[in-house]
């Protein structure tokens, strides 16, 4: 049975919001998975809090609408409890890079098998326009009316340093490529990180800026860590530079969930073993 992937929930994203592109890309990917014979019952989406996170209400699949910054620990718990599930995190840049940065680094360090899509519009939308960790220096937001006094960090470089085994950057106005990057991320066994540049139609519309600077990574060796580092530094999310899109790095490593074998044990056996522990303490 093919399911209708869009829920009846009323969509409240602003007209022109980059989240629509991600939603429809994911919808197409899910429909594709179903066509290949995969059951969507085995897919779980985990979202944070912010404009991006409304996708949990809009896509008709299992979802956990968590807390701000906390997609990854929840997703990690799900994956450990049931490694058969395909777990996709959708997080915002405030979510993943500010409130939940520790979890992001640890997910990369652990190589937990999940896909992390960061809806990176480089501004807080739902709280109506404050700077985020990837806003450019001098960004004038409601909390920094005179302009930010700190540099953005480069999430790709950070993920390379943290051990992520799949690192890509997409852009919401290049949907076919974005679909390819996310599909490949889902297929990747390990921690797949995709930074998605999207515009915020209301608080940080970068369409023209991105349109004139993005280009596709071509002939880049995704197995070469040093080259991935160099490429990731080409644009630092601050100064003007060409912005590469595509897969920067990919490698195969054992995953966190693989290293925790599921331990099936009957209740009776567990009870016997508890009794043995008591006996040994006598």
């Amino acid at each position: 049975m093919t399911r209708n992937l869009i829920t009846p929930a009323q969509n409240t994203w602003c007209p022109g919001c980059g989240n629509f592109a991600i939603q429809h890309t994911l919808k197409d990917i899910l429909a594709g998975l179903e066509k290949e014979g995969r059951s969507l019952d085995d897919v779980v989406m985990v979202t944070g809090i912010g404009c991006h996170a409304k996708i949990a209400d809009y896509l008709n699949i299992n979802s956990v609408y968590t807390l701000h910054g906390r997609t990854i620990p929840v997703a990690t718990g799900i994956k450990l409890a049931n490694p058969k599930l395909t777990v996709i995190c959708c997080a915002g840049d405030g979510d993943a890079y500010a409130e939940g940065l520790d979890h992001l680094i640890f997910a990369a360090k652990r190589n937990i098998d999940l896909t992390m899509i960061v809806h990176n519009n480089r501004v807080y939308g739902l709280t109506t326009g404050q700077y985020t960790p990837t806003s450019p220096l001098g960004f004038k937001g409601k909390s920094t009316p005179a302009g930010t006094t700190e540099y953005p960090f480069n999430p790709l470089e950070l993920m390379l340093a943290s051990g992520a085994t799949y690192i890509a950057r997409g852009y919401t106005r290049k949907m076919p490529q974005l679909a390819q990057l996310i599909r490949q991320g889902i297929a990747h066994k390990g921690f797949a990180f995709i930074d998605v540049l999207q515009i915020c139609a209301s608080f940080f519309n970068m369409t023209e800026y991105y349109q004139s600077r993005v280009y596709d990574l071509d002939g880049h060796d995704t197995a070469d860590f040093e080259k991935a580092c160099a490429k990731s530094r080409e644009w630092d999310y601050n100064l003007d530079a060409p912005i590469a899109l595509g897969v920067f790095f990919e490698r195969a490593l054992p995953t966190f969930d693989d290293r925790y074998p599921s331990r099936d044990m009957s209740v009776g056996e567990r009870t016997r073993r508890i009794r043995d522990l008591f006996e040994a303490a006598r």
Partner: protein, 552 residues
């Protein structure tokens, strides 16, 4: 009560806990019930550590400062403890203790040299010496070493035997007729109880005094068929736990007060999203970093009120090993049946204390399994039902679309801000609390001990009850101990208070937190006896304080 107390002291890093445990096993095999309290500063090497073993012909869970035998690995042990027990029988290590008022000494170094044994076996000499001084038959020493020191038992036994032969019996411990019991720490028993209650996943970040629960479950993960994870911080701990539960795994997390501060957003999420989770909070002295390795009971009100918003929660505070097992198992069952957070509130005294316990006496509460989705109608994660409990399905279940949500939501799990729906769903969660309270009324939520018809009663919770029991026995008082603190067992509590004219709250905090809870529920506490120096009440000390409170 026949009783004997042994203090084993030395430097941190000298293996004092293990030496104390071996002494406890000797007394256990001599037929005694034992209790061990370990006292150590928050450091790894140096500093003074001691294990206090109290053995009696009745179950005990507290110690007094009266010491019958002082096993001193160094001079500091003698200097610190002899002033409090001038009549105690001393067994000392002559290598590090030079000024010994009386008693017997052995030279560990000389014994190790004579036996060509490694330094790690040195404490066996002290144990052997103690056994002889206390007149414990060699067969018991032999049995205890072979059962509890299986690694290099021969070498340790040779060392112990040489020390045993060098000493003579000066103060005989009378043998009792009881069988040996299992000696387990509160945290070990809590761990076993959680597993008995269905736990398959335990997640925790180290924090004294909860760490030994993490160590115990991690060390026995394969044996017990469970998964144990130590993530980046306590925020990750609780959220990983909630993710794990969403996917159907029965999960618990553990921490102390400071770590629990970081868990409160996750706790509130569990309340709103109706995710079952058991949270073990083992209290230490606060506020803030406080006294990491000492005890306290200052988190009751915190645990009762933590987290934004209102949602049902179960809070259980066991007093001893038996209760710790039973209620830890019950916390797992009840958290799942009602899809709520459930707390096991322990403290350093209970968590790190060692108790005599018997597996065969540990009855579990008859809690029913959680209601699962029958696969008929389209799945509604938050379906409203008469009991407020929505049938469970987990992602991966065929044809169930499971939508879990931290926002206010409708029965499907979609976000809503509609007033009527918000009211409905709040009332749905309230109904669960009412049902939970009804079910709890069938279980022994308030323990009444001591002289049941006494008009003066000691009101207490958690590990303090053990000292209260002894004082009540000596003074002919009643002891009232609510094990369940939320939902508060109003009916059982007032039944327990029938005929009480003088209610004395005994707590290890500065504000009388249980007394405040009782007031909130219409009870009346006449006087509070409080202690907040990080050390547990000793029965002797409490006896005097209660005497004063009764007849000021």
């Amino acid at each position: 009560m026949k009783e004997v107390s042994v203090l084993v002291g030395g430097r941190a890093g000298d293996g004092i806990n293990n030496a104390g445990a071996m002494v406890a096993q000797l007394l256990n095999h001599l037929g005694y019930f034992v209790y061990i309290s370990i006292d150590y500063p928050s450091l790894i090497r140096g500093g003074h550590n001691f294990a206090l073993v109290r053995a009696a012909d009745k179950p005990v869970g507290a110690y007094n400062n009266r010491i019958d035998y002082l096993v001193a690995l160094n001079q500091e042990t003698l200097d610190l403890h002899i002033p409090h027990c001038p009549d105690c029988t001393v067994v000392a290590n002559a290598d590090l203790a030079k000024s010994i008022p009386s008693g017997q000494t052995i030279s560990i170094n000389a014994i190790l040299k004579a036996e060509s044994a490694p330094p790690i076996t040195g404490n066996s000499a002290m144990i052997g010496a103690f056994a002889k001084v206390a007149g414990i038959p060699w067969e018991i020493v032999l049995e205890v070493f072979s059962r509890h020191m299986p690694k290099a038992a021969d070498e340790n036994l040779r060392v112990a035997r040489r020390a045993y032969d060098e000493c003579h019996t000066t103060r005989q411990v009378p043998a009792l007729s009881g069988p040996p019991h299992s000696l387990l720490t509160g945290n070990e028993v809590i761990g076993c109880g959680l597993v008995a209650g269905g736990l398959t996943h335990y997640i925790s970040y180290p924090m004294t005094p909860s760490s030994s629960l993490l160590h115990f479950l991690a060390g026995n993960a394969e044996r017990l068929g469970i998964t144990v994870i130590h993530p980046e911080n306590e925020i990750a701990v609780i959220l990983m736990g909630l993710g794990s539960a969403v996917a159907g795994a029965r999960t618990a997390v553990g921490t102390s007060g400071g770590g629990f501060c970081l868990m409160t957003e996750g706790l509130s999420f569990a309340g709103m999203a109706e995710i079952p989770v058991v949270i073990v909070v083992s209290q230490r002295t606060g506020p803030s970093t406080g006294l990491p390795t000492y005890t306290g009971q200052a988190e009751l009100q915190f645990v009762l009120h933590a987290g934004q918003g209102e949602f049902p929660r179960l809070v259980l505070a066991p007093a001893d090993a038996g209760e710790a097992y039973r209620w830890s198992a019950a916390a797992m069952y009840l958290a799942w049946k009602y899809q709520i957070p459930a707390f096991v509130l322990s403290d350093k005294t209970l968590s790190e204390g060692t108790y005599s316990v018997d597996y065969d006496t540990l009855a579990e509460l008859p809690v029913a399994d959680p209601v699962l989705w029958d696969g008929q109608d389209p799945y509604l994660r938050y379906q409203d039902t008469p009991a407020g409990i929505s049938p469970l399905a987990f992602p991966g279940r065929k044809d169930a679309i499971v939508k879990v949500n931290s926002y206010a939501h409708d029965e499907d799990g979609y976000t809503t801000e509609e007033a009527a729906l918000v009211t409905l769903m709040t009332e749905k969660r309230r109904k669960k609390e009412v049902k939970l309270k009804e079910e709890m009324d069938r279980y022994p939520c308030v323990s009444v001990r001591g002289k049941a018809d006494a008009s003066t009663a000691l009101l207490c919770w958690g590990s303090v009850r053990n000292a209260c029991d002894e004082v009540a026995t000596r003074l002919g008082l009643r002891v009232i101990q609510p094990v369940v603190l939320s939902p508060f067992p109003d009916q059982q509590f007032s039944a327990a208070c029938q005929g009480v004219q003088h209610l004395i709250a005994v707590e290890e905090n500065a504000n009388g937190q249980l007394a405040a809870l009782v007031h909130e529920h219409g009870g009346r506490v006449d006087v509070t006896v409080l202690k907040y120096d990080g050390r547990p009440f000793t029965p002797d000390e409490l006896f005097l304080l209660v005497q004063e409170a009764i007849a000021p």
